[in-house]
Symmetry: C2
């Protein structure tokens, strides 16, 4: 049996944090759990990341990068304007299945809730995530709206529905939020077409 080479401690810690933090809750997870899960020592954490918050910031950064790529891919795969706007729901489903664990809801919103006085590193990732969301949704809404105001309204509704899908995983209801989200988004698009 060829033995798999063990990744460096820094990588193992990042992976463990990504796996555990957002299932157990950020604050609910003691650093000891992460250290045990990763098989690293306390010093590894504090020399590489400075603090638990520093580790969280790096994990969030990786997640933002992954999310952006998945969303990119799904937008490109769509074949018309409506499909490109609705691609965010494909992206949510894909991201949860492929990239990260189907448990948990949204790492960014969880961080916003649990770390209200977040250090700059975390606050900045959250802001980048929100910027990506708002700018891209507005961009994708434009072709489907008669004017700039209507486009902004549609984009806001999309952000609302998307956020609702994520938070519904936390609530545990409805059972398949992505499907309901897609239906609600289609209705919003259609309303702008007929109205």
């Amino acid at each position: 049996m060829t033995e798999a080479r063990r990744p460096p401690a820094r990588t193992r810690l990042l992976d463990a944090a990504d796996r555990v933090l957002f299932e157990q809750g950020i604050r609910a997870t003691p650093v000891d759990d992460l250290l045990r899960e990763a098989g690293v020592s306390v010093s590894t954490l504090y020399t590489h990341f400075g603090s638990k918050d520093g580790l969280v910031a790096e994990v969030l950064d990786t997640r933002l990068h992954d999310w952006r790529m998945v969303w990119d891919r799904c937008v490109v795969a769509a074949h018309d304007d409506e499909g490109r706007l609705l691609a965010i729901f494909d992206a949510v489903a894909t991201y949860r299945e492929e990239q990260h664990h189907p448990a948990g809801w949204c790492a960014f919103l969880a961080a916003a809730d649990e770390l209200p006085s977040a250090p700059a590193a975390i606050a900045q990732v959250l802001a980048s995530h929100t910027d990506l969301l708002t700018e891209r949704l507005l961009h994708l809404s434009r072709p489907l709206a008669q004017n700039q105001v209507k486009a902004q309204e549609l984009a806001d509704e999309m952000a609302l529905i998307y956020t609702g899908v994520l938070a519904s995983y936390l609530r545990g209801y409805p059972g398949s939020p992505v499907e309901g989200g897609r239906r609600a988004a289609q209705a919003a698009v259609q309303a702008r077409r007929t109205g």
Copy 2:
């Protein structure tokens, strides 16, 4: 000047907890902050509520009671089926303005995120809140849908949008979630009418 009578320590602590816990974050708020804010001693907390979680459970219970009443009022004030379904957004606006502080997002979702291994008392309030939401939305959706399946779909979309409105306060975008939520909900109702 007639001096206002000071409410009992138990009440002061409940009020302080309701004010502070969901603005600062549940876990981010040390009990000392609540004690100082309420002007009570440590023993008061532990004799009356048993633990910080016990206090949280009681505050959530009060909030559920208040929310149910506000929602009731707004449903009764509406004058047609669509208005009664959409009344949940009036209720959100009213609840935030009148009953509780406009900061913070949703006490129940925050508790679900921050206290994943919640004691029974808290888990039960959260379940009651979700039950109220799902049952009432389904009830109010029935007159607007041709059959039971469509009614359930509409109710799911409403729950999604409602949850999105609340979580949008956490995200800080869109700026006026209630308005976008109402538009999205109207589109969902209309889609079920035309489709």
